[in-house]
């Protein structure tokens, strides 16, 4: 029995959802994502029902909380990443339904939706915890409801259903503000569309009142902000606990970033947007989108104005927005553009198909040829997006904090970032419950650090300037001694000492003599002192370096570079000045290096490199110092 149109559409949407979900899950970040600072804070907010940075994102927080509580796999960060993957895949399925609502046939709508699904900006956001994939889902859902309402409102037999649907559409629209407040900019487009489809709606005050009530009910989620304001450290933002601060947290947020560029920068900003558009849809896809815009304008004025106004307002606003990661802000407009692409392809198919029908008698053959033509451009785009956005081995943050919290002595203190900037560390304490004995002085309500406590810190706290710990947190003239090196420069565990470490010694007898000289620096030898644990390797290296010149050194296992740093971590010059060791002494580094948890089990060669910096560029010269056994 043939499927009804509705059934076939549902099945196709479900298949699109499944395919995209599989792709996103295959490339999903397994835990807290690096870099993406906002993502770390959003993860913590979702897992603890906290309060995210401006503009608060209440719906995101609640849905994220549900994901962390209901999914039985991975840690909370993995689960909020899965939320992005799931809602991202749902966005693509909804893009298909939207394309169908504007008259695009099934095969072409599938192509348009998948083109959006494999676009690199969107895929990148579907594998990490961020608001953009969930927001795309809410934008798509709202838009689909609006188009569905319009279809029902036009037909006499479904008019009553349209009346019931309209307030629901308004409710979902109000809710969508909780994944990104910028959706408010779509209001003129929805209002115009409503009037174009059903101008007599203004004569039905009850319908309008219900819709307004639905919208306000959805938008009422922002009452969450003042309710949670007192319980969460919102640093560096002022807590939204007064009307003025509430405004600054929501509708008045980021005034310095809005319309940031002068008129003279307009060509550069427009070109930036076009570059991003072509990067996501290709040159042909972009051209097809333009064809789609004109086609929609010609065929269906109401739907044209809805989609065009949404698109134009969004692009106009964000092309003038001064965020460093402006690319992700265009995702909702990319979703709409994918629909334009679908309409453009449909216009071409409508011209070509009758011509083909005269030559090829079998309609199935024509359909198969069309499917092939549409599938071909998707293959290389999928491959490219998969490679670029595959975050399945991003375990930097999780590996670092699990090792750092394991290596800390009992009842020590770890000073990380404050408020939103400390979310990564707070996550491992509050959500995973690791090392409750370790004091986190930057945590809200933490007691003062008792005298004699061994203090540790990270580069995030040291380099944060006004966003870091308050002045006086660290002793004057402290020495920051590296203890554990993570797999990115931002993740190093320092011990804060008041006396200098034994950085240069007169005599040294390394267990393994190496005597390898590169670029003036000699690696005399290496020890593997006790202290290896699952998760890190402890390595002691001995160096002779020319005075006043600290080489950049690096560590790797197999072909995987674990870290790179300046020998002595910036302490050598001060050490020479203040401690004044005997000339010709040996520089000693005794640190542990985090081993990525995705390393394959088995033995791996452990190598230390001296990074040569000369006319030939940078090239580490590696020396084998031992072997690492990964369980």
């Amino acid at each position: 029995m043939p499927l009804s149109d509705r059934g076939a559409d549902r099945l196709t949407a479900l298949a699109i959802f499944g395919v995209c979900l599989a792709a996103y899950v295959a490339t999903l970040t397994p835990g807290m994502a690096y870099p993406g600072g906002d993502g770390q804070e959003l993860t913590l907010a979702a897992a603890t029902l906290g309060l995210a940075h401006k503009t608060g994102y209440p719906l995101f927080t609640w849905v994220g909380f549900a994901f962390t509580r209901l999914l039985p796999i991975g840690d909370a960060a993995h689960r909020t990443n899965l939320m992005s993957a799931t809602l991202g895949a749902a966005s693509v399925a909804l893009a298909y339904r939207i394309a169908r609502e504007v008259g695009v046939e099934r095969l072409v709508a599938t192509f348009a939706a998948l083109l959006f699904g494999v676009s690199t900006s969107f895929w990148a956001q579907a594998v990490v915890t961020e608001v953009y994939a969930p927001n795309a889902c809410l934008v798509a859902f709202t838009l689909w409801l609006a188009l569905r309402w319009a279809r029902w409102a036009k037909a006499p037999d479904t008019h009553a259903r349209a009346e019931r649907l309209f307030p629901r559409f308004a409710l979902v629209y109000g809710l969508s503000l909780g994944t990104h407040l910028s959706s408010l900019g779509f209001a003129p487009a929805y209002a115009l569309f409503t009037l174009l489809v059903d101008p007599r709606i203004l004569g039905r005050p009850r319908t309008v009142a219900r819709a307004v009530a639905g919208f306000l009910l959805g938008a009422a989620q922002f009452l969450w902000l003042p309710l949670r304001a007192g319980a969460v450290d919102t640093f560096p933002n002022a807590s939204p606990d007064t009307l003025a601060r509430f405004w600054a947290y929501t509708l008045g947020a980021f005034p310095e970033l809005r319309f940031m560029y002068p008129l003279g920068a307009l060509p550069a900003r427009v070109t930036l947007y076009l570059t991003l558009l072509v990067r996501n849809f290709g040159t042909v896809g972009t051209a097809l989108g333009v064809v789609g815009l004109w086609t929609l304008w010609w065929r269906d004025l109401a739907r044209f104005w809805l989609l065009f106004a949404m698109y134009a307002v969004h692009v106009a606003f964000f092309s003038q927005f001064g965020a460093p990661d402006v690319e992700v802000f265009f995702i909702p407009s990319h979703l709409v553009f994918a629909v334009f692409v679908g309409v453009g392809v449909q216009a071409i198919v409508d011209v070509v198909r009758p011509a083909l029908a005269g030559v090829v008698r079998a309609p199935r053959l024509v359909a198969a040829a069309l499917a092939l033509v549409l599938a071909l451009p998707l293959v290389p785009r999928t491959h490219a997006s998969f490679s670029v956005n595959n975050q399945s081995t991003d375990t930097v943050i999780s590996d670092f904090y699990r090792s750092a919290l394991a290596i800390l002595p009992p009842r020590s203190a770890l000073i990380g970032g404050r408020g939103a900037f400390g979310a990564d560390l707070f996550y491992f304490r509050r959500v995973l419950g690791l090392r409750p004995d370790v004091l986190l002085p930057m945590e809200r309500g933490a007691p003062p650090v008792p005298p004699g406590t061994t203090i540790f810190t990270t580069p995030q706290a040291l380099a944060a300037g006004p966003f870091g710990p308050p002045r006086g947190t660290f002793p004057e003239r402290a020495w920051y001694v590296p203890v554990l090196l993570g797999n990115r420069g931002a993740y190093v565990l320092y011990r804060v000492d008041t006396s200098p470490p034994p950085l240069v010694v007169a005599q040294a007898e390394p267990e393994v003599r190496l005597d390898r000289t590169v670029d003036g620096a000699t690696l005399l030898g290496a020890d593997r002192p006790a202290g290896d644990r699952r998760g890190w390797v402890r390595l002691k290296t001995y160096w002779r370096v020319p005075p006043g010149r600290a080489p950049v050194v690096s560590t790797r296992v197999g072909t995987l570079t674990l870290e790179a740093h300046e020998l002595g971590f910036g302490n050598l010059e001060r050490y020479a000045r203040e401690v004044q060791p005997a000339a010709g002494g040996t520089v000693v580094e005794d640190v542990s290096v985090v081993l990525p948890s995705h390393l394959a089990p088995g033995p791996h060669p452990l190598e230390v490199g001296v990074v040569q910096m000369g006319a030939g560029g940078i090239a580490p010269q590696w020396t084998r110092v031992g072997q690492v056994e990964v369980e």
Binding site: P35, G37, T275, W305, F308, G489, V552, T561, I618
Partner: protein, 116 residues
């Protein structure tokens, strides 16, 4: 009303296409940033830097080295910058000189500091 909206739509579409075309042409004639008209050759996080070279950890290719020269055009966010503005932990997009292979000589670098 419908006629007016149709005309307005056509005018706006034409204007937007003209603005896009003019902007692209305007930018291509400026050629201030040698690599900005194509995808970067390398994208990653700046790990360490020396006098004439950078080490970048990329997602796909691990640790990569890049040579920098006084001619390397540096952009920080959307404004002009210098090599001294590059900080470890910044996200870098690097465009190489066309004829160079290994190590790449950077013609242009765009840096986005990731710290808030």
């Amino acid at each position: 009303m419908t006629g007016l909206l149709r005309i307005a739509g056509a005018v706006l579409l034409t204007a937007i296409l003209a603005l896009g075309g003019w902007s692209a042409h305007h930018q291509s004639t400026l050629a201030a940033r040698p690599g900005s008209r194509r995808d970067p050759d390398l994208v990653g996080l700046l790990e360490v830097y020396g006098e004439n070279a950078l080490m970048i950890i990329t997602v796909t290719e691990g640790l990569q080295s890049v040579r920098v020269t006084p001619e390397t055009a540096v952009t920080v966010r959307d404004g002009p910058g210098t090599l001294a503005d590059l900080r470890p932990g910044s996200l870098l997009a690097v465009w190489g000189r066309p004829s160079t292979t290994d190590p790449m000589v950077a013609a242009a670098i765009t840096a986005v500091p990731l710290q808030k």
